[in-house]
Amino acid sequence: SAVISQKPSRDICQRGTSLTIQCQVDSQVTMMFWYRQQPGQSLTLIATANQGSEATYESGFVIDKFPISRPNLTFSTLTVSNMSPEDSSIYLCSPTTGLTEAFFGQGTRLTVV
């Protein structure tokens, strides 16, 4: 399986600011999924990012709030913009070359104060 490096692992941020989360993979992957996991909850897909095209966002998530970059097949970023306490969650990247199984980054535990 691919080695996935997600940074930062955790952060405490002031409301109104933005945080960019990075996901680096040691091999080329077709798709990059970004999930949010609120405390004690399941994983909710935010968006799917393919290289060279705009990310596809799920219902309830918009590009202005969660801009995503995918400059190449090994790297992606998710930005949480204009944060509020409701954005406090774990954010997970999940790179994939297919749909046989999902691998996840270690997660970014975000607390907005």
Binding site: F33, G40, Q41, S42, L43, T44, L45, T48, T56, S59, L92, L99, T100, E101, A102, F103, F104, G105, Q106, G107
Partner: protein, 112 residues
Amino acid sequence: GQQVMQIPQYQHVQEGEDFTTYCNSSTTLSNIQWYKQRPGGHPVFLIQLVKSGEVKKQKRLTFQFGEAKKNSSLHITATQTTDVGTYFCAGLLIQGAQKLVFGQGTRLTINP
């Protein structure tokens, strides 16, 4: 939208007791996958079921996929403290966007 329902939400057992979690989808799935998330960790892939009626075993864990490919179960025999965590099923839809839909998860705690 498409949902995968998972029950129970929580389960507390004595060490040595069995444990089962169930998933149900309103529509037919291409496959179903199971993940385990330890407290403070990220989800880790356990297994994938693809065929109708498929049954797979991993040591004390038994996974089943229903005949209609709409439901699945994970059964753990004789739980151990290392089994603690949250177990998620995730269904891959047959039609539409290729993405996993996660169940709500079952959080398993064990009394040693």
